[in-house]
Amino acid sequence: MSTATIAFDADRAWRLHDRVALRPEPFGALAYHYGNRRLTFLRSPDLVAVVESLADAPSARAAFDGSGVDARRWPSFEKALTSLVAGEFLVPKDTP
């Protein structure tokens, strides 16, 4: 587990941590981190789609763009991803 604090940056490429699992739920998805045992709620299906598309996108912003979701909602995605990065659910794509 990384101890350095990494901040979310929408221009960077991200992916789910290897030890994170997503479970689809009616409200979106549950995310569980087997490493730090944290559980979190992804509270919209659009957010789940964005998170799942991160690994194939050159940047988070590109994933937002590719999601087809109105740009006015992007700040709420940024906020959610910031918290997912803080909980180590997301790591930079180039993390070994």
């Binding site: 699992a21 479970r23 689809p24 739920e25 009616p26 409200f27 549950l30 569980y32 087997y34 045992r37 559980l39 709620f41 509270r43």
Partner: protein, 377 residues
Amino acid sequence: MTQLTDQLTLGLNAPICLTWEWTYACDLQCVHCLSSSGRRDPHELTTPEMKDVVDQLAAMQVFYVNIGGGEPMLRPDFFEIIEYCVSRGVGVKFSTNGGRINAENARRLAALDYVDVQISLDGIDEATNDAIRGEGTHARVRRAMDHLRDADFGSFKLSVVMTRENVGQVDAYEALAAEYGAELRLTRFRPSGRGIDTWHDLHPTSQQQVDLYHWLLARPHVLTGDSFFHLSALGEPLPGLNLCGAGRVVCLIDPVGDVYACPFVLHDEFKAGTIRGEGGFAAVWQSSDLFTSLREPSSPGACGSCGSYDVCGGGCMAAKFFTGLPLDAPDPECVFGHGEDALAALAANGGAVRPSMTADHSKPLGVGRRRIPVTAL
């Protein structure tokens, strides 16, 4: 309630917090035991059935299970099933009385990934703890904690059920947990199981509950399993979902495979089905009549005119049921005293009819079972 808790009350594809009790056997006879454990049930799940449940949970993406009992370590296949859970990606958090945590078992546990241990202690000193858990158990738990530390297990959880006798010791528990590099977990004493008989004399007083609320509010790192959500009516909500999750985010599988709405209602009225039936656990979780009805909007009943209903949701279903209150009555420990009033009204009307356990596995009195000395207050 928030939008999220609204959605959670409608039910999920799988539980978030699943308690799975592995055996009714226990070498202790704690006076507050939620499952009235003691004797093993002859119909407990076999090793292949246990593994089949693990497979079902893995398929439903249940990320982890809370394992309890009885004393789960008394199952001869304990490590075999634990290792199977881990191999299938089902994390394990198990509660133990510590009696079987010797040096070797502590090393075995430390070597496993995804395994958390929660060890029960109900008094900082021998007199307080042993009155609840039985003679010699304080010393035994401390030895188990030493073994976990010596085996470099890492952070385990020290778990205390809050009673009238020990709630004043919270600072000492915090210090003890810190000394071992452990996390502290405090949970609510429910009037379930053998607690049906002991709760009335041992549950914290209303002043103690107010003090506990402020203590917890200042210590968000102390774990509570969301069990004190009835106290959130006092003001700022405690961390957690603050809702009764029975059949919505929580359920229990008992040692014979019966599925109940939560770990505190081992009673026929809250039995949703059995994992031995067609469709297994998923069928019970997704479509049993009981769980379907628990996911429907419920009436606030007697709490409808209270401004705090949105925060506490009327409190704990099990606490009401086992004290003889209707399910739409206030929680017996309602912070505004409405529960005490409701209990007093029941008593004035000829006494509350308290349900008894439908499956009591207690050992007969006299077999290592000791009545707690109770003083009427």
